[in-house]
Amino acid sequence: MLEISALNSFYGKAHILNDLDFSINRGEVVALLGRNGAGKTTTMKSIMQLVHPKSGRVSFDGADITSLPSHKIARLGLGYVPEERRIFSDLTILENLEVGRQKARKDAPVWTVEALFELFPNLWERRNNRGKAMSGGEQQMLTIARTLMGNPKLLLLDEPSEGIAPVIVEQMAKTILRFKEEGLTVIISEQNLHFARIVADRAIILESGEKKFDGTFTDLENQPDIRDAYLSV
């Protein structure tokens, strides 16, 4: 569904992604693992063209999206949930959801505001509040819900478990598993190996913008040296 080949991205002169290759199949949940600064966020931004790769190719459903503007990529069905959440804090929760709204797609689960409030009941209670006064967990739910309003086929979740309470993390894991049931393809960037193992089918490990591992969690367990070298446990 998503194929990345020989991707190179820079910030100014700093070379961040180094000939990155991987691919994602429809219906898979893949965890992108790696330490702080490994390049997980940059990978996601490069897919969305929020960072413009110098070379390499990203294709989605067979079409080259490397030179498309972000909004067209989003409209093709890629939903991006940024690590920093980037809630529109001057807008109410309902208005935040409205920004993400897009037409329904035949080949992806269709979300409505009602369905999302069912998924995240906390949001319903605060639907007319502004994004300012929200806890980390609520913000995370809102960002996910906002992106789902675009009815994506592929969800890019950047560190959804970061900085939120353990109870909510658990809830988040259930939610992601539910996305999988609904047929959504998900790439989730994580530092929390435990969380990743619960939700994902496959792990890709990055270090300094290079792919160091690509396989199942069982494979990973059989190679503890890789885990120790590239993940902070």
Binding site: Y11, G12, K13, M48, L50, V51, P69, S70, H71, A74, R75, Y80, P82, R86, F88, S89, D90, L91, E95, N96, E98, V99, G100, R101, Q102, R146, T147, G150
Partner: protein, 620 residues
Amino acid sequence: MGLFVAQLLTGLANAAALFLVASGLSLIFGVTRIVNFAHGSLYMLGAYFGVMLMQSLPGAVGFWGSIVLSSLIVGAIGIIIEICVLRPVYRAPELFQLVATFGVILVIQDLTLMFWGAEDQLGPRAPGLKSVVRILGEPIPQYDLALIVITPFILLGLWWLISKTRVGILVRAATQDREMVGALGVNQSWLFTGVFFLGSALAGLGGAIQLPKGGADLLMDLNIISAVFVVVVIGGMGSIVGAFVASVLISVLNVFGVAYLPQSTLVLMYVVMAIVLLVRPYGLFGREEKAGEHGQAGEPDRPIRPAGVRGRLFAAALFLALALVPVFGSNFTQVLLTDILIFCLFAASLQFMLSTGGMVSFGHAAFFGGGAYAAALLVTYADSPMELAFLFAPLAAGLLAVVFGWFCIRLSGVYFAMLTLAFSQLVWSLVFQWYDVTGGDDGLVNIWPSAWLSGTTTYYYFTLIVGVGGIIFLRHLIHSPFGYSLRATRDSARQADATGINVTHVQWAAFATAGAMAGLAGGLFVFSKGSVFPNELEIEKSFDALIVVFLGGVKTLSGGVVGAAFMESVKDWLTRLEYWRLILGLLIIGVVIVAPAGIVGTLRGLSERLGLRWTGETTR
């Protein structure tokens, strides 16, 4: 009591046009982050189109129809500007966008002159609203009352659009984080164009709707723009309600000012603004700006190096050639070169704070004119010798810069620029209106140099030595530890702070230095001309300096000097052409889009490709 109410009502009616223009500017800024300097020009176009249409469409329907139609036409012109001029520079630094909109001002000025001629156009009166109503015995024009009724409806309409519709939600979201809006599938280009249409249409509406009160003339663009800036700064950039409240405040203040403090109407507005900014730096309804919140990192600047051997030899040869000019050149050449040198020093002082300090000032003329006036005042009132008055120029300008700088450096980016502009307007209005002391429009005359410095050639040498000395001083400063600290604060205030640099002090000192050097240029100026007039303090003067720095090359050291020399030399020839503004405007827009590195940057790029080196080793 009656008079009081009448004045209040006049103020409220005057607020209409101001609010429309300011809300348009604010809206455009909110989403695109561009301060559209040409917004006053769109207002002017609205007025001209309004007059033209009203002459051909009869009756009340024709009158109101013309207003709406002019607004739509101006909105369409806004779309053209957005697509042709601004789209190519959205990713460029703020300053480039601003300079591009200066270019648009010049182009529109000349196009208006071309189509409608130089004569002021009388605004038609509104059919059915031509007489007055007596309120508490005072005559109030019916049209004023109509405006007072209409404006809140426009506010309401805008409020509804912004807060209740999907478009409004997207606009507000984009105001906060436009990249994220794009990542959620919204086409920013259309959003930008739409907002530009709306903002421009509002300016056009303002221009047309004020016709029965004011008419149309070629000065209205710059006349309104500084008031509009004051309004958006007071109200808060991006806030429609803020624009409304501040428009009413400023208009009412002006009316009462005219009645009770006729000498200080203009000053009053800027004083109020300064007070508001002191209490609320982002305006009454604005929200705090976090610079570079979600920006992508750009190309790093090339390191700045002192001139190498070749560069130094070139500069020395140039100096020698200039020193020899009186031997060969005519009197006229020397006068022209004196002007050029003065302008070069002025531009170099701006470039110092702008390029090295990252502080984009829109009001640098305050220090140039301030220095000139300080010297002139001393000569006029204290009969001071020229030498003393001349030294007083940079001192006074430096002191002025210390005071203004204290306010300005607390802000950054657009807010900083606006505040510098407002302060320079404050000085201008003070000089312009304080007739008894400054002579107002008549200026101060008979300010001549001492006997040992008089004569074209002698004064030329004096200017050459002081001017070049000043420029060299600034260059040395850039390569001194102070210059390094200043650059560090420009690149990242936070990191500079972490390395132990007192960011506030460094920026403040740079601001004051730039002001003092501009004052030095002003001192040279006043004694070369023998007089000074308020136009040395005008917005145009500040813009001139910005434009030459830009043309020369923002990211170079010598850009200001080269740009000033280039501009001052061609100006004499260019201004003889009827439509020189059009040419200059197009040139500016062209440079912004095609050669943003400016003259020096582009030439350097070319010559380096040929293998020539102009600079010494890197210093860091």
